[in-house]
């Protein structure tokens, strides 16, 4: 049996990578991701992995190296955050369209400016439409578990898309928590050997990667991402089920908590999902019919799963740790889109919170429940901001 240990989220990710032993890792340091690449460098220095580890001179190059390696036929991992992810932006779209199943840990941190190193989801939200899969973890255990599952989902022949394993900067990356890693052999067996598709290094059957596509082809190539995303939904479900069998930790694309007889729901991603459940328990003790929804898989967005949870509810608060100045935030938009498929949908309001690492307290979430129960609150609310 595997033994529980106490490490921070970044180290847990590095440990998962070590078990998987990717052929190439290329990265560039940025807080709060840096511990991952430092820990991994130690494994490389001690000869514990076979990985070719490339210290790129920028994130743009780091991801370009990953794309080159992946196209060449290697299993590839990288990590970044915030400005680093923004700097990769051009290559995010390229890597998705080139169908390179790169696994990237994103230690969610806000974007400058002003410069701020603390947690929010605006970095990952900027990559929302790039064609990358995005999976969010709530704690150290999930950051680790998501990483093992991510390789399986991304590399599946029906998917072949890059994936971001998102973990809240500092709150998960730097917090020491007890978690249970798999034994090395179990982890390796779960992920399995890498299967390249048309690798560049197959010099006997040369492949042209990254040609120019004119208007008569571009759209169809992009549409293939839609198909791959749709497939990813089922694949993710299967992989999570298999992982549950193996570990007893049962995950789903979207996870409801005390939702069955609930009339009011609060939807969140990342570490805040735990706080929401805590508040739900408190309010349940007071007899309030509230429940929590955690979105684990953000891209593809599990619309149908969410519809099932939202149906028949009176009101829903969607917590977004990101903003879209001028309109509602991304998670809210997706939840509203899902709810539009329901005959008489719940009233849905958006609560933007925790930007730039601002703490979110249980009392604040209680009062949000209070607002939606009483039918108060704007469509888009900025929780705790000094206006």
């Amino acid at each position: 049996m595997s033994k529980p240990i106490a490490v921070n989220g970044d180290t847990a990710i590095a440990m998962a990578w070590k078990q998987i032993n990717p052929d190439v890792v290329a990265a560039y340091p940025i807080t709060p991701q840096t511990i991952i690449v430092e820990a991994y460098s130690d494994y490389v220095a001690d000869g514990l992995v076979d990985t070719e580890y490339i210290c790129a001179e920028s994130e743009h190059s780091a991801l370009s190296i990953c794309v080159g390696s992946s196209a060449a036929g290697a299993r590839v991992a990288t990590a970044t955050a915030s400005a680093g992810l923004a700097f990769m932006w051009e290559m995010l779209y390229v890597s998705a369209s080139m169908r390179t199943p790169i696994v990237m840990a994103v230690a969610n941190r806000t974007l400058s400016g002003p410069i701020n190193i603390h947690c929010d989801h605006s970095d990952a939200m900027g990559a929302r439409d790039s064609g990358w899969l995005q999976i969010f973890g709530e704690n150290v255990q999930e950051a680790y578990d998501n990483t093992l599952m991510a390789f399986r989902i991304a590399e599946n022949m029906k998917v072949r898309l890059p994936i971001m394993t998102c973990l809240d900067g500092f709150i998960i990356t730097h917090a020491l928590e007890r978690f249970e890693p798999l034994e090395d052999e179990k982890a390796k067996a779960f992920v399995g050997p890498y299967q390249p598709v048309r690798p560049l290094l197959d010099v006997k059957s040369p492949t042209t990667y990254g040609p120019i596509a004119m208007p008569e082809y571009y759209y169809e190539i992009k549409y293939q991402l839609v198909t791959a995303m749709a497939n990813a939904m089922d694949v993710a479900r299967q992989v999570m089920a298999e992982y549950g069998e193996l570990t007893g930790r049962r995950y789903d694309l979207v996870e409801g908590y005390r939702t069955e007889d609930a009339e009011y729901l609060m939807v969140a991603m990342g570490s805040t999902a735990g706080t929401v459940r805590f508040v739900v328990d408190q309010l349940r003790a007071e007899g309030k019919k509230v429940g929590a929804v955690k979105v684990r898989l953000f891209r593809p967005f599990p619309t149908e799963d969410l519809v099932a949870l939202l149906r028949g509810k009176k009101a829903v608060a969607v917590l977004d740790r990101a903003m879209s100045p001028g309109t509602g935030a991304p998670l809210y938009m997706d939840v509203v889109e899902a709810a539009s498929q329901i005959g008489s949908p719940p009233r849905i309001s958006n609560y933007i919170y925790g930007l730039g690492g601002r703490d979110i307290m249980p009392e604040q979430l209680s009062s949000v429940f209070g607002e939606i129960i009483e039918g108060r609150g704007e469509r888009v609310n900025y929780l705790g901001v000094r206006k």
Partner: protein, 312 residues
């Protein structure tokens, strides 16, 4: 190496591309790829050469080829080479493969300089070849850091007040040499023997190698498409584009440049170079002729430095 042998080498870049008639880029690429019969993987920066050789669903490439963006061909090939090293080390791959990256001057002197510098510093085993046509041709002849002073481009047009580009080009080859790179060279497609020999050295060098090749562009330089080779030769004969190599810390002139340095060949005036191309037309007569003198003075200064560096 003789011409007869070269005609029998494998066609790695084949017919069917859509580069302009008289474009030097495919001439250079074919010469570079003739320099080895080992398998190669090619990376390409965005630019004329990339867009014209791979218009989906067609490709003019008979070897594995990858393009990911404009500024990152060195990083992309770094990744391919890293994968190769990893898979070989793990016994998952057999056989030797060589890695070559192509980029225009825009990709190399400007937007991708950091990527190139990083890849060289990390010591990846690849040859980088710059097609230096002294402007962003693919996007319609805009100035780059390689554009010659006085040249008229669409972003530094020769007007009634300003005589084209106001700055001299940066000396990229020397910037690359300052990385203590194992092998670097300047070459020209008119001297195919010199270019192929340098390419062979670059490909066989253990670690990074860089070759900067003058690449006449009939569209942007405004010359007849039949003049490409003649003009590349003139670039060397006027010492606008000296042929040399830097190997194991030693600078060495080659081809016509060596003969000019030794005194067995005439160093032609820069005015001949300027008058061969429409982009310099405004410098040959009228109020901007002093710019031509400045260019000559700069060419002489740089040539003098090169003679010293190569101990001539």
């Amino acid at each position: 190496m003789n011409l007869r042998e070269l005609t029998h080498t494998e066609e790695r870049l084949c017919e069917g591309h859509r580069l302009c008639a008289g474009c030097a880029e495919p001439i250079i690429a074919r010469q570079v790829l003739m320099a080895t019969d080992k398998p190669v993987v090619v990376a390409n920066a965005t630019g004329c050469f990339e867009v014209s050789t791979t218009i989906y669903p067609f490709t003019a490439w008979n070897v594995p080829w990858i393009h990911t963006a404009f500024e990152n061909a060195p990083a992309t090939i770094s990744g391919v080479e890293a994968a190769y090293n990893s898979l070989k080390r793990q016994g998952k791959l057999e056989g030797e493969i060589k890695f070559v990256a192509f980029g225009g001057d825009g990709a190399t002197y400007d937007i991708g300089l950091q990527s190139l510098s990083g890849a060289i510093e990390r010591g990846h085993d690849f040859l980088y070849v710059c097609f230096n046509n002294e402007a962003y041709m693919n996007t319609g002849i805009q100035r780059s850091g390689a554009t010659q002073k006085g040249a008229s481009t669409t972003t530094c047009p020769a007007g009634s007040c300003i005589p084209g580009k106001r700055e001299f080009p940066k000396d990229l080859t020397r910037i690359i040499i300052a990385h203590d790179i194992p092998y670097a060279a300047q070459a020209s497609p008119h001297n195919w023997k010199d270019l192929i020999e340098k390419s062979r050295k670059g490909i066989e060098t253990h670690g990074p190698a860089f070759i900067n090749v003058v690449s006449p562009c009939p569209r942007g330089w405004r010359h007849d498409s039949s003049q490409t080779i003649a003009i590349s030769k003139l670039a060397v004969e006027t010492c606008v584009w000296p042929l040399y190599e830097y190997e194991n810390g030693e600078w060495r002139l080659t081809g016509e440049s060596l003969r000019i340095a030794e005194g067995s060949k005439e160093k032609r005036p820069v005015s001949e170079w300027l008058s061969s191309q429409g982009r310099f037309k405004h410098l040959t007569k009228g109020k901007f002729t002093s710019v031509a003198d400045e260019i000559q003075a700069n060419v002489d200064k740089k040539w003098g430095e090169l003679l010293k560096l190569s101990k001539m």
